[in-house]
């Protein structure tokens, strides 16, 4: 066939290297994982770190403890349903909860920008006090630093936490088995949309509040009821999709989701529709997935639904022997498709 000269395929020089860190490197997606692998995991290689779980299980002197840390840089600092302080306590409490640990003690370190309002700092501290009290943890040590005006973003908070593991299960991706059920504790996307609603350029009127909440109490109830939990993961940045991809990537198994049962509130859906966001990738702060043997699923579901933060829990899918390391989803239309991690932050679109 004669080549038509006026139609020339074209494409740009590829960008394969990132000499500078981008926002996307913190977005919870592929780029962040690449950064962590290449820069940090390779530098600090040890068996505990290699489990790559949200919190580390350590055994000093025979006691089984969970140990974790997280930093909070959210903007805006105050959003419907919470603030950076609420996140700082609950985020770390939840990381401990995901090992099935009973959270006990937290540290908190503050990096405060010169000029930041003392009243705002007080508000944040009170939020943390309230959240710590609800989560039944004590803040036992901390640190305070002030940086030049323009070198911070108001305030950054880091919290580290220690919890006691009172069960003898191995709660990790390595325990996942084909045939397991996947429980999702509630509706998705609320936190990400609540935060976005307060941002310039994307603002809208809404009553949506962040779903930020402590999960430890419910997890401990499940464990005390004798539910044989295989794996837990709280949904944070990157949403439900990223959490599941992270779990299954290093296993031989496949996670299969059923789109039509995943709960999403209508106003969250509305926001996702107008911004062109896929709710599967929108951040949450008070939701988790629980992977467990199918035989335990109904009992666990009943327990979750009786708890205030699990009222809308569903069986969202199951673990199969299919394409190893993949997450697939049966769409509402009934067709199966791959669910992957995004390479960076999900951006609003017009197309």
């Amino acid at each position: 066939m004669k080549r038509d000269a006026e139609f020339m395929p074209s494409c740009p020089i590829p960008i394969t290297e990132y000499p500078h860190v981008l926002m996307a490197h913190g977005g919870g997606g592929r780029l962040m994982h690449q950064l962590i692998e290449k820069v940090f995991l390779s530098s600090f290689d040890n068996p505990i770190l290699a489990t790559r779980h949200d919190s580390a299980t350590i055994n000093p002197g025979g006691s089984r403890l969970a140990f974790t840390t997280d930093s909070y840089v959210v903007q805006p600092l105050f959003f419907p349903g919470g603030d950076i302080g609420t996140l700082a306590i609950n985020g770390t409490v939840n990381d401990l909860a995901m090992s099935g640990a009973r959270p006990l003690f937290l540290s908190a370190a503050f990096i405060i920008e010169e000029g930041f309002s003392m009243e705002s700092l007080w508000r944040i501290a009170q939020s943390m006090r309230k959240a710590a009290s609800e989560a039944r943890v004590e803040l036992v040590t901390g640190d305070t630093k002030v940086v030049d005006h323009g070198k911070g973003d108001g305030v950054f908070v880091n919290t580290a936490g220690i919890g006691r593991i009172e069960h003898s299960l191995v709660i990790a991706p390595s325990s996942v088995r084909p045939g397991d059920s996947i429980l999702l504790s509630g509706d998705i996307g609320r936190h990400g949309i609540a935060v976005m609603a307060a941002r310039e350029g994307l603002a809208f009127e809404t009553t949506i509040e962040s779903d930020c909440a402590p999960l430890a109490d419910l997890v401990i109830q499940l464990l005390e009821a004798g539910i044989e939990i295989h794996c837990l993961r709280d949904l944070t940045r990157g949403g439900l999709a990223s959490a599941l991809v992270e779990i299954v990537e290093d296993t031989r198994y496949c996670i299969h989701l059923n789109e039509s049962v995943i709960p999403i509130h209508e106003d969250v859906q509305g926001a996702c529709e107008i911004l062109g966001l896929d709710p599967l990738y929108v951040a949450n702060e008070g939701r988790f997935v629980c992977i467990l043997p199918k035989a335990d699923a109904q009992r666990a579901l009943h327990l979750m639904r009786s708890h205030s933060i699990g009222a809308e829990a569903v069986v969202a899918g199951d673990v199969t022997d299919g394409s190893p390391g993949r997450v697939t989803m049966t769409s509402r239309i009934g067709v199966e498709r791959i669910v992957d991690m995004l390479s960076g932050e999900q951006l609003p679109r017009i197309c």
């Binding site: 209508e266 509305g270 107008i274």
Partner: protein
């Protein structure tokens, strides 16, 4: 292009037709939308919104059309005596 979403007009403000705006609800989320291109739209109407602009008023009668068409072709298939798979080579 083109992400445009149907939303319900809750209230309208502005006298100048070019800067006439409405508070439009998308499942409970409310955004201020420019209504300059839909002068006929009123409160409780649904409009199709793209990047903060209403580009049409949704015709609620026509909204059923997708399902009516399906019913029509369904009935057509039942009436026809046609054997599927009979083709002629082009």
């Amino acid at each position: 292009m083109c992400l445009a979403v149907p939303g319900k007009i809750l209230s309208i403000s502005g006298d100048d037709p070019l800067t006439r705006t409405g508070r439009v609800s998308f499942g409970g989320i409310i955004k201020e939308v420019n209504l300059a291109c839909v002068p006929e739209a009123s409160v409780d109407d649904y409009v199709i919104v793209h990047v903060g602009f209403a580009i049409s008023t949704l015709d609620e009668k026509e909204a059923e059309q997708v399902f009516e068409y399906l019913r029509e072709i369904g009935e057509l298939e039942q009436l026809e005596d046609k054997t599927p798979g009979c083709t002629e080579q082009a």
